[in-house]
């Protein structure tokens, strides 16, 4: 099984196994026209860990997240300065193919958005587009198992993905992201549209997936960040600047003994 999956891994972006940090930003600024949404962010994302990004609405969390797989480029008027390094290589270098970036760094969105196709095709389609030539049945099963959805859908693979519940649809989207064997999965509020039980399923899944993938998650729910992540980055904005990194630490430390008063006020609900 692993052998088959390996085939879809490409080597167009050079991978250095020695690096502990998969992603790194250096003096990253992101603008929407004249507005600077992210200010001078330096942060490193550790491999096979869950890193949560928290902060008040409008502080640039999602903008930052999208910069890790060049999704912001799809927004007119956006531009960046500084660097986003993936295994030490600048993702925004002229010779880097953004499609390849999004292949290696997958994304799961706030609202589950399965294709209006069968459950099977939801998984198979992306892999096929990315040139997967192996055993598709195996890949579909593998991806659905990884997303903790297989047992629930193995007998209805030909049913529409849209017929699943919200929580199942979101796990299907995660399975779809996994099918192209990314190294990093970006999750933008992946459970905010789900009921509490489905949310807990997704959170358990995130913990499981971190054994094999590097995960970045943006969440408004601080308890969720505390539950699922190994590291937490708190972003804030004020009158002069927005999207600046206030504190970045291991999650246990940040939620029990934050170093910065602003972080303390935010996580204890005194502002935001």
């Amino acid at each position: 099984m692993t052998h088959t999956i390996e085939k879809i891994k490409t080597q167009r972006i050079k991978v250095s196994e020695k690096l502990v940090y998969v992603l790194e930003t250096k003096k990253l600024n992101i603008y929407y026209d004249d507005f600077r949404a992210i200010s001078e962010v330096n942060m490193k994302i550790e491999r096979n860990k869950v890193t949560a990004i928290i902060g008040p609405s409008g502080c640039g969390k999602s903008t930052l997240l999208r910069s890790f797989n060049r999704m912001n480029e799809l927004v007119q008027g956006s531009r960046i300065s500084g660097e986003v390094l993936f295994h030490g290589q600048n993702l925004y270098a002229p010779d880097v193919d953004p499609v390849e970036v999004r292949h290696r760094i997958g994304m799961v969105f706030q609202k589950p958005n399965p294709f209006p196709k069968s459950i099977y095709e939801n998984i198979a389609w992306g892999a096929r587009v990315h040139g997967f030539k192996g055993n598709m049945d195996e890949l579909v099963e593998y991806s659905l198992r990884q997303a903790a959805l297989w047992e629930e859908v193995k007998d209805i693979l030909d049913h529409s993905g849209l017929a699943l519940s919200g929580g199942q649809q979101q796990r299907l989207c995660i399975a779809r992201a996994l099918a192209v064997q990314p190294e990093v999965i970006l999750m933008d509020e992946p459970a905010s549209a789900l009921d509490p039980i489905s949310t807990l399923h997704i959170e358990d899944l995130i913990r499981e997936l971190s054994n094999h993938y590097t995960i970045l998650i943006v969440t408004h729910n601080m308890q969720q960040a505390a539950r699922v992540s190994d590291f937490t980055a708190f972003f804030n904005m004020n009158g002069d600047r927005s999207g600046y990194l206030v504190e970045y630490d291991n999650t246990n430390q940040l939620f029990t003994m934050p170093k910065n008063k602003l972080t303390e006020d935010y996580i204890t609900g005194r502002f935001g």
């Binding site: 601080m222 939620f255 996580i267």
Partner: protein
């Protein structure tokens, strides 16, 4: 990262009120325990059995208050999902709550000794034992004030006063041993008083634990203020 100086805006009023209420309840429990300790010793001094029996009743109220506080802390944790300072405060309230209840048990122990002594007269007039009680209660009172105010400086200083209580205990111990040597038939009556003194000595030890929690709330660091507190060290130092 220079935002330390900014004022905390007032948000989460309900939660703030709940925390304040719990602090008030701890103070109230502390007062009940202080009263128990002082009155148990006064009753022993006067060999006042009805007063000792009232301490046993008061202890039931102390226990009930302890469980009520514990329950309330769990409700606040479950409903408010506290973090950081708030979480440390609630965890510490739970701990201090237990310490106070145990101190109440020491007072109850002294009252029980008083009752069990029955018709026996005191082996000697009580002088240092009431001093121990007074000192322990004084330390407790200030430790709880430091807790409410999160006064780390006071919390660091109070435990050192435990030495005074220990010195009084050693004094009582020596005196009682001397009396036993002089008259071996006094051993039982000496033992009653030794137990009472021991209970009071433990009160002061538990004050140290409260101070450690106060420091923890403010700094996030658990520090064993007086490692010499452990029983082995005490035995080594005792006469």
């Amino acid at each position: 990262m220079d935002d330390k100086s900014k004022e905390t805006p007032v948000l989460r009023k309900t939660f703030e009120n709940e925390l304040q209420q719990l602090k008030d309840e701890i103070l109230l429990l502390g007062s009940m325990v202080e009263q128990s300790i002082l009155e148990s010793v006064e009753a022993l001094k006067k060999r006042d059995i009805p007063a000792a029996e009232r301490i046993l009743e008061l202890d039931k109220k102390v226990n009930a208050k302890r469980y009520a506080i514990e329950n309330q802390v769990m409700i606040v944790i479950a409903t408010q999902q506290p973090m950081a300072h708030d979480l440390r405060l609630l965890a510490s309230i739970m701990e201090i709550n237990g310490e106070l209840e145990r101190m109440g048990d020491y007072a109850k122990g002294i009252a029980t000794i008083n009752i069990r002594m029955g018709e026996q007269a005191l082996l000697k007039p009580l002088i240092d034992i009431p001093r121990m009680a007074q000192k322990g209660v004084d330390m407790l009172h200030r430790a709880l004030t430091a807790f409410i105010n999160e006064d780390v400086e006071a919390a660091r200083l109070i435990p050192a006063e435990d030495d005074e209580v220990d010195a009084l205990y050693n004094q009582v111990y020596r005196e009682l041993i001397t009396l036993i040597i002089q008259d071996p038939t006094s051993i039982e009556r000496a033992n009653w008083l030794l137990w009472a003194a021991h209970n009071l000595e433990r009160v002061a030890d538990r004050v140290t634990n409260i101070c450690e929690r106060t420091i923890f709330i403010a700094t996030g660091k658990i520090k064993d203020i007086r490692s010499s507190d452990d029983e082995a060290q005490k035995l080594k130092n005792s006469p």
